[in-house]
């Protein structure tokens, strides 16, 4: 499960996570992530056959709220924290996609 990670593997994980790593970070993370993965491998020793996974620890689910239209954050406020926005048009601005 956790042979040491190669730099290529670390780069692939970073790409999935939308991160770019420097040369130094690649080496450092390859080592640190491998250490951590080796450590968590001890879970393999635990017999979990037939044990259901815990997805939530919510003690009780009291039902969903009524499906009613309610006021929500107004558009101006929602755009106020955007690094770039066209307030009048009500749009977030991003670099070209294609």
């Amino acid at each position: 499960m956790s042979a040491p990670l190669t730099r290529a593997e670390v780069e692939a994980i970073a790409a999935l996570a939308q991160l770019e790593l420097s040369e130094v970070e690649l080496d450092l993370f390859a080592r640190q992530l491998a250490d951590i993965l080796t450590y968590v491998d001890q879970l393999k020793e635990v017999d979990t056959s037939g044990v259901p996974p815990t997805i939530s620890v919510s003690a009780d689910h009291d039902g969903d709220r009524p499906d009613e239209v309610r006021p929500s954050l107004d558009r101006r406020a929602a755009l106020e924290n955007a690094p770039e926005a066209a307030q009048e048009a009500g749009l977030f601005k991003v670099p070209r996609v294609l």
Binding site: I13, E20, F29, I36, T54, R65
Partner: protein, 469 residues
Amino acid sequence: MEVCRDVLAAIEDTQPRLGAFITLTADHALARAAEIDQHREVWSDRPLLGVPVALKDNLCTKGISTTAASRILASFRAPYDATAVARLEAAGAVIVGKANCDEFAMGSSNENSAYGPARNPWATDRIPGGSSGGSAVAVAADLVPLALGSDTGGSVRLPAALCGVLGLKPTYGRVSRFGLLAYASSLDQIGPLARTAADAALALGVIAGHDPADATSSMRPVPDYLSALTGDVRGLRVGVPSMLARDATAAGLDPEIWGAFSGALETLRAEGAVLVEVELPTSSVAIPAYYIIAMAEASSNLARYDGVRYGFRAPGDARDDLQSMYRRSRTLGFGAEVKRRIMLGTYVLSAGYYDAYYLKAQQVRTLIRRDYDQAFQAADVVAMPTSPTPAFKIGERVDDPLQMYLADVFTVSANMAGLPAVSVPCGFTEGGLPIGLQLIGRAFDEATLLRAADAYERRTPWAAARPAA
């Protein structure tokens, strides 16, 4: 108003030495204090009227900077208040500042803050614990009587223990998480840090309760926690994990921590509590299971920081496309520990590894819950130390993330099982560093935890001890 001015002055005065805060909310606080002075009589029934409060900086505050100690949110001003924050203010509390913490609550030492570390008031060359380090420092240094933190794997209890104050992680679902910047949504809970169990009881009563904005918040009525503080622990069954009852060194426990823990159990017994041994066999693998779940959820939760709707966007040029903007913004905006956790979380959720890591960890989580179900047949609370060691030196573990994770060895299982847990001061090392006793309770039984913590506090000098100014 005068109290508020004094508090703000004290914070400014200690900030260079302790680094407890990221943002001081002086204008906001003074305006609130003036408003309270004017309405003092009509508002006299508000339980926290005029009480200065510090908030961990991952709690949203309308119009006030909320950074989560990250560069990526350096200029973020939340458009709404977290529910817990709104409830504190409605109860009359005055928010004096946003407390330092580890970036996105990821850390056990408060060293992962983009705004510099917070320092332990008992020894300023040492960490205060994390991730709610600034909240604990603010209470321990007598800057505020009450602070809120968040606890995903020990982040309220650990700094409370290392700074000599009380910290409570409520049951999952007891306090609304609306407006808490999400780290690991199935584990996160907001909790109070205070000097006494009575103050924490008061605060919990204010912030607890159902919130339509958080579907995981419970509808159960909120009891009067203050009235539970009878000072009486006669007959209370205190479970001691057998590994701690027999061989403390096996748990990697510092001998001084072991001594203080044993002494605390003795005190509870002398007051009429009954000590019983309990088995928690799965606790030995709680840390690896916890980190897999927390990192997986973090990688998903932090995908929202993409430089589009809020937060930092890396400057680019006309040739830039959307994806390179995402990548550079995240790369420059996040610190190293956040990147590590996002990457590990991405890895364990990726095709081919999901069953071996994430599913396995969720199965282990079920076993941890079963351990506690079993333990609570014989015991009303389970006792263990909060931290395996006292506060370590700043810088000591920064190059070894795995070593850092082990600080959470006694705290993560309460989050994994969704149970409430409290850390209460139970002594000092010879070097004068605080030690914490942790009590874990049944779901929604915060009242029993607070009763035991309060009774213990009344018989011991630890909660009253303050660091030299």
